[in-house]
C-alpha cells in the first residue's frame, strides 16, 4: 500500500497551488516605492579595447537619474571566484579580475559596459542608445585549442589564456601510460560536450534597496542561494557586513545552476540604490539571458580506454579542454575538475585513471555549473567510449558493462579518483532497466520500424554522480573557498504547529512539500502542521543553498538533526508532565507515552507547556521549543542507475525520433515518489535537449549565432516520449540520517549518452557502419551528413 502521508507518500506539491494559480511571488512581481529602473548597455563585439565611453548625451536624456561606468566602481571589488584549482605543477590557477562593468577592454558580447538608471525602463533604454562608445576591435579568441596555444590574449595582465592545466591523479600518470602500452585493446574517442544556455523560465531580476536611516541594504534577487550571495557580495565586492545586508530570493522560476552565481547586476543595483537613495530594479530580457547567464558544459575531449582481451578495463586516459568563457564565474573552475575528474571511474572498477583538463579563457559568456555540472561531461565520454569499445571488440555492451561493474559486495569502494562510493547495486539497476525497457521485445519493434523505412536503435548506459555536495573539509583541500554544510531551524509554536527555516532554497523542487513530509513523519503529526520557510537571509540560518542535488541529503539532514534536538527536549518536558523518567518516554503518532504503560500526553500539550510553563521543569530546562542544527556531510552521496533509449532514424532526412526512454535509478530512500519522478522527467528532458536539440554556437568573431529561441532549440513536449521510470532499486546512503542520495540531476546526467548510443546503434544495425560518433546536438542535418560520410 502506498503511504498517504509522511515519508514515502506522493503528497501533492503544496507550492503548486500558488504556482498554478498565478499567485507565485517572483522578484519581478515586486515593486518598491520610488523605484528606479536600471538598464545595462552591453557589448556588441566580443573583444575590443575601450578608448572612451561618452555618457554626456545619455545623462541629459529625459528621466535619466544617473549613468554608471567602470570608474564609479573603482572603490569596490571585482566579482570573486569561489574555487581555486591548483594545476599539475602545483601552481594556483590564473585568476583575472572580474569587474562589475567592463574596464579597459570588452571581453564578450553581452558584457555590461554601463548601467543607466532612469525613472522608467524605456527612458533608460533610450539613454543607453545615446551612449557613445569609442572602441578598437581586437581579434576574438573563440576556439579553445587555438586559445590555449597562445596568440591573442583575453586578459593581457595574466599572460596566458590557459587558466590551469590540471592533472588527476597526477601521480598515476606514468602508471596509466604503462597500462596503455601493454593493453590488448585501446579504444579512442574524440568528442564535444556541447555548450548549453540554461534558459530557466524566469529570467534573472535584481532589485537593490537601501535605508539610510539604518544603513541597511536589501537585495531581492533570483538566486538559488541567498546566503552565498550575501557573503560574496557583502564581503568581497561591496564591503557590507552581513548584519547590514539582507538578501531575499523569493519564488524563483527555475535555476538549473545558472542562479547559483553572483552576477554583476546584483552588485550594481545594490551599489546604485545606496548612491541614489532609491530602490533600483533590473529585469533581464530573454535576449540578455542568452548573453549574460552563465552557460554550461562546453568541453572538447579525447578519451582513451584500455582493455584486456576479455574486456576488463585496465585504464582510462582523458584530455579535456574546458571553456571558462571570458571571466571566472563563481564556481567555474570546480566544474571540469572536481565535479568531473572524480567521476571518471563511473560504475566500473578501472584501476588506473588519469584526467587532464585545460581550462581556457575565450571571448565568450562565462561558463559555470549547469544541471549536473561536470558529471554529465564525465558520464557522456565514459559511456560513449565503452559503447565504442564493445562494438570494436564485438562484445555485448550490457555484458561489457556488467563485467566491469563495482559488484554489490564491493562497497564501500575506493575509486582511483579520490572518492569512495558508500553503497550501490549496479547489477540491480541494470536488471531493472532491461525489464522496464522491454529490451527483449526490441527486435520485433526494430523489424516494424524497418517496414516503414526507419532505422531503429537501442542505446543503454549507466551513470553515477556525486551529490549531496559536499564534505567541507574535503572540498576545502580541493580548493573550495566556502564550506558546503547546510542549516535548519525547527521552531515549534505554542499550539504545536512547526515552522522550519532552511538554508536550502526551492526554485521548483518542491521542498515545501517534502521537507514537511519528513518532519510530519518524525513527529507523527499532519503535514499541514508544518510550514517551510526559505529564501531570506533575515529569517533563515546561514546556509549554502540548493544545487548539486544537495537539498534533502544535506539540508534535509540538518533539518532532521534540528528536529531530533526538538524531540529530545520535548521528551524531557513530557517526562516531567507524565512524572516519568525521560529514558522511558516514547514518541509515536504525535503522542509521548511512558513505555509499558497507558500514560501519555499529546504533542500539542507538550508544546503548550514549553511556552506556557506553568507546570514545567524550569530549573532543568529553558522554556520554548526551537532548535537549530548545522550538518556537514562526511561523504558525497552516489546516486546511480541505468538508462535506455530507443530511437528511430529517418535515413533520408537524418531526423531522430525518440520512441521510448526508460530510467532505472537508485536514489536510496525516497521521500516523495511523485516529486522524484518529476525531477527525473525534467532532467531527462534537459538531457534529451542536449543530445538532440540544444547548442550554443559562436562564429569566429565571437558573435552568438544562437541568441534567441529562433535558433536555440529547447525541448518541447512533442520532442520527448512518455518516460518509463523506476526507483525501486534502493541502496540507502549509509552516512546521512534519511538514507537519501539526491535525484535532481540524474536525468540530465544519465540521458545524453543513451540517446547518442541509440542513434549510433540504429545506424549500425541499418548497415551504416562507418559512423562511430556524432557530436551533440544530433540535429537532422548532422545525422544526415554523418550518414553521407
Amino acid at each position: 500500500m502506498p503511504k498517504d502521508h509522511g515519508i514515502g507518500a506522493s503528497s501533492k506539491r503544496r507550492e503548486d497551488v500558488r504556482f498554478l494559480s498565478g499567485r507565485g511571488r517572483y522578484t519581478d512581481d515586486m515593486n518598491l516605492a520610488r523605484q528606479a529602473y536600471a538598464v545595462f548597455l552591453r557589448a556588441q563585439v566580443a573583444h575590443a579595447k575601450i578608448n572612451k565611453i561618452d555618457t554626456t548625451d545619455a545623462a541629459a536624456m529625459p528621466g535619466v537619474i544617473r549613468v554608471f561606468t567602470a570608474q564609479d566602481f573603482s572603490g569596490v571589488g571585482g566579482l570573486p571566484c569561489g574555487w581555486q584549482v591548483t594545476d599539475r605543477h602545483g601552481n594556483a590557477m590564473l585568476e583575472p579580475k572580474h569587474p562589475i562593468l567592463a574596464e579597459g577592454k570588452i571581453r564578450y558580447v553581452g558584457e555590461a559596459l554601463a548601467m543607466i538608471v532612469a525613472e522608467t525602463e524605456a527612458q533608460a533604454r533610450d539613454a543607453a542608445e545615446a551612449i557613445v562608445m569609442d572602441v578598437e576591435d581586437l581579434p576574438a579568441v573563440v576556439d579553445m585549442k587555438a586559445a590555449a596555444a597562445g596568440g591573442t590574449l583575453v586578459h593581457d595582465d595574466i599572460g596566458s589564456n590557459l587558466c590551469y592545466d590540471w592533472g588527476f591523479v597526477e601521480d598515476n600518470k606514468a602508471a596509466v601510460d604503462e597500462a596503455f602500452a601493454r593493453a590488448d585493446h585501446v579504444t579512442t574517442l574524440e568528442l564535444v560536450n556541447n555548450r548549453l544556455a540554461p534558459n530557466p523560465m524566469e529570467p534573472r531580476v535584481a532589485i537593490g534597496d537601501y535605508d539610510f536611516s539604518t544603513d541597511q541594504h536589501t537585495l531581492y534577487t533570483t538566486s538559488q542561494n541567498p546566503h552565498v550571495i550575501r557573503l560574496l557580495m557583502g564581503a568581497f565586492v561591496l564591503g557590507i557586513p552581513e548584519h547590514k545586508l539582507r538578501v531575499v530570493a523569493p519564488d524563483v522560476g527555475g535555476g538549473f545552476g545558472s542562479k547559483i552565481f553572483h552576477y554583476a547586476e546584483e552588485a550594481a543595483v545594490t551599489f546604485a540604490a545606496k548612491e541614489l537613495r532609491r530602490p533600483v530594479k533590473w529585469t533581464s530580457t530573454r535576449s540578455e539571458a542568452f548573453i549574460t547567464d552563465a552557460h554550461g558544459r562546453d568541453h572538447v575531449t579525447k578519451i582513451e580506454l584500455a582493455l584486456d582481451k576479455d574486456g576488463h578495463f585496465q585504464a582510462i586516459r582523458t584530455e579535456t579542454f574546458a571553456n571558462m568563457g571570458a571571466y571566472l564565474s563563481t564556481f567555474a573552475p570546480s566544474v571540469p575538475t572536481w565535479l568531473h575528474g572524480t567521476l571518471m571511474a563511473g560504475n566500473y572498477k578501472t584501476p588506473l585513471i588519469y584526467v587532464n583538463v585545460k581550462a581556457v579563457f575565450t571571448n565568450t559568456v562565462p561558463v559555470d555549473a549547469y544541471r549536473g555540472a561536470g558529471r554529465p561531461e564525465a558520464t557522456f565520454q565514459l559511456e560513449r567510449v565503452i559503447d565504442k569499445a564493445a562494438r570494436e571488440m564485438g562484445m555485448d555492451p550490457v555484458e561489457l558493462r556488467r563485467k566491469n561493474f563495482v559488484q554489490p559486495d564491493e562497497f564501500p569502494y575506493q575509486t582511483p579518483v579520490a572518492v569512495v562510493y558508500d553503497t550501490g547495486n549496479y547489477q540491480a539497476t541494470m536488471d531493472k532497466l532491461l525489464d522496464i525497457a522491454d529490451v527483449a521485445g526490441f527486435e520485433a519493434r526494430r523489424a516494424e520500424s524497418a517496414e516503414a523505412g526507419k532505422l531503429r536503435g537501442l542505446g543503454l548506459n549507466c551513470y553515477i554522480e556525486a551529490c549531496g555536495i559536499a564534505p567541507s573539509n574535503l572540498v576545502g583541500q580541493l580548493g573550495a573557498r566556502a564550506g558546503l554544510y547546510e542549516s535548519a531551524t525547527v521552531r515549534v509554536n505554542a499550539t504545536g504547529g512547526i515552522v522550519v527555516m532552511t538554508g536550502s532554497h526551492s526554485h521548483g523542487q518542491g521542498h515545501e512539500t517534502t521537507f514537511a513530509q519528513v518532519i510530519a513523519d518524525m513527529i507523527g503529526i499532519a503535514e499541514n502542521q508544518v510550514e517551510i520557510v526559505h529564501g531570506d537571509t533575515a529569517n533563515t540560518p546561514m546556509g549554502m543553498g540548493t544545487y548539486g542535488s544537495r537539498s534533502l541529503a544535506v539540508g534535509g539532514s540538518a533539518m532532521v538533526r534540528a528536529a531530533n534536538k526538538v524531540i529530545n527536549k520535548a521528551k524531557k518536558i513530557a517526562a516531567h508532565l507524565l512524572e516519568a523518567s525521560e529514558a522511558d518516554i516514547e514518541l509515536k503518532d504525535g503522542a509521548f507515552s511512558v513505555a509499558g504503560t497507558d500514560k501519555s500526553v499529546d504533542w500539542g500539550s507538550v508544546c503548550l507547556a514549553a511556552y506556557v510553563p506553568h507546570n514545567y521543569p524550569l530549573e532543568d530546562l529553558e522554556p520554548g521549543l526551537e532548535e537549530t542544527a548545522f550538518y556537514d556531510p562526511s561523504n558525497f552521496t552516489y546516486p546511480a542507475g541505468a538508462y535506455a533509449c530507443e530511437v528511430e532514424v529517418d535515413p533520408e532526412t537524418g531526423k531522430v525520433t525518440i520512441c521510448a526512454f526508460a530510467a532505472a535509478d537508485d536514489f536510496g530512500n525516497v521521500v516523495n515518489p511523485m516529486i522524484v519522478e518529476g525531477q527525473v522527467h525534467g532532467g531527462l528532458a534537459q538531457g534529451i535537449g542536449q543530445a538532440l536539440l540544444e547548442g550554443v554556437s559562436y562564429d569566429e568573431n565571437g558573435q552568438l549565432l544562437s541568441g534567441s529561441y529562433m535558433d536555440y532549440a529547447m525541448p518541447r513536449a512533442d520532442d520527448v516520449p512518455s518516460y518509463v521510470v523506476d526507483h525501486s532499486c534502493q541502496t540507502p546512503c549509509t552516512h546521512n540520517p534519511l538514507g537519501v542520495k539526491g535525484c535532481g540531476e540524474a536525468g540530465a546526467i544519465g540521458s545524453p549518452p543513451a540517446v547518442v548510443n541509440a542513434v549510433i546503434d540504429a545506424l549500425h544495425r541499418g548497415g551504416i557502419t562507418h559512423v562511430t560518433h556524432i557530436d551533440m546536438p544530433l540535429t537532422p542535418g548532422r545525422v544526415w551528413s554523418a550518414i553521407q560520410g
Partner: protein, 263 residues
C-alpha cells in the same frame, strides 16, 4: 519598443490613406512586426491595423472556383474554412507556428513579409495564386523577389489572395527544430495543365519553383519521377540548422513525399 501611434481604420481606403504617413506600417497579426518592434529593430511612427476591415477577413469561393482569402484572415481561420475547398492549403495554414500565432498571424502579413522560411509563399507560388492589392493584381510568379522582398510598393496592401484549386496537392514541411518554421518546405500541386512545385526555406533567393521536378511530374505524377533528378546545393542556405547540401537533399526527399501524399 519605441513610442508609436496606432490607428484602426474600417475600410481599405482608410488604411491606404493612413499608410501614406511617413514611416507608417501596416499591422496584420503582429506576429513578426511586434517582436521586431520590441527588439527596437523596427520603429514605425504609426501602426495601421488591418484588423478592423471586415472585407479583408474570411474565406470564400469565387465564380471560377478559386479559393479567395481576405488579406487579414488569420491562419486558424484558413485552416478551418478552407479545409473542404482546398485541404492542402488548410493543412499548411494549420501547421504554421502554434495556436497563438495561428489565431493572430495573417496571410497578408506572411506574404508581405516573405520570410525565406515561411510556409504561405510556397502555397501561393505552388498554386499560381493571385495576390490582390488595393491597387492591382499580381501573379505569384511575379510577386516574390527574394528573401524578405516582394513586388509590393510602399503602402500597398494585400487585400486578398486567390488560389486556383488543384486536382491534388500536398505540402511537406520539415521543421527547423528551434523556430519550427520550415527548414525546408515543398508544396506540390497538380493542375490540369501541369504540376507546380514550390520550395521554401531552402534557397538564399527565397521561395522558388523547381522546374525540373515540375516537368518530370507533369509527365508522370509519381515519386519515382523525381528519383533521377538532382538538386544543386549552389545558392542554398547554409546555417546552424543545415548545410546547403542538406537542404538540397531535403528538397528532393520532401518533393517525393509530397507527391506520394498528394496521391
Amino acid at each position: 519598443m519605441y513610442a508609436f501611434d496606432f490607428v484602426k481604420p474600417s475600410s481599405i481606403d482608410g488604411a491606404a490613406e493612413a499608410l501614406q504617413e511617413e514611416e507608417a506600417m501596416a499591422l496584420g497579426g503582429g506576429q513578426t512586426l511586434i517582436p521586431s518592434m520590441k527588439q527596437r529593430l523596427a520603429a514605425p511612427s504609426v501602426l495601421v491595423s488591418l484588423g478592423g476591415i471586415a472585407e479583408m477577413r474570411g474565406v470564400c469561393i469565387a465564380d471560377d472556383g478559386a479559393v479567395c482569402i481576405g488579406g487579414a484572415t488569420p491562419h486558424a481561420v484558413v485552416a478551418a474554412e478552407a479545409a473542404a475547398s482546398y485541404p492542402a492549403l488548410a493543412a499548411l495554414a494549420g501547421g504554421i507556428g502554434d495556436p497563438a500565432v495561428r489565431n493572430r498571424g495573417t496571410i497578408g502579413g506572411s506574404l508581405a513579409n516573405n520570410d525565406p522560411s515561411a510556409c504561405y509563399p510556397a502555397a501561393a507560388l505552388g498554386s499560381g495564386a493571385t495576390i490582390v492589392t488595393n491597387t492591382r493584381k499580381i501573379a505569384a510568379d511575379d510577386y516574390f523577389e527574394g528573401m524578405f522582398t516582394t513586388a509590393l510598393e510602399p503602402g500597398e496592401i494585400i487585400t486578398e489572395v486567390r488560389f486556383p484549386v488543384p486536382q491534388a496537392a500536398n505540402y511537406q514541411k520539415f521543421l527547423q527544430p528551434a523556430s519550427r518554421f520550415a527548414l525546408t518546405g515543398v508544396f506540390v500541386a497538380k493542375y490540369a495543365d501541369g504540376v507546380r512545385v514550390a520550395v521554401t526555406g531552402a534557397s538564399e533567393g527565397g521561395v522558388f519553383r523547381w522546374s525540373e521536378a515540375e516537368a518530370a511530374l507533369s509527365a508522370d505524377f509519381s515519386p519515382a519521377a523525381v528519383e533521377g533528378l538532382t538538386v544543386s546545393p549552389e545558392g542554398m542556405i547554409g546555417d546552424l540548422h543545415g548545410t546547403p547540401a542538406y537542404r538540397a537533399n531535403l528538397v528532393k526527399v520532401l518533393t517525393k513525399r509530397a507527391v506520394a501524399a498528394a496521391g
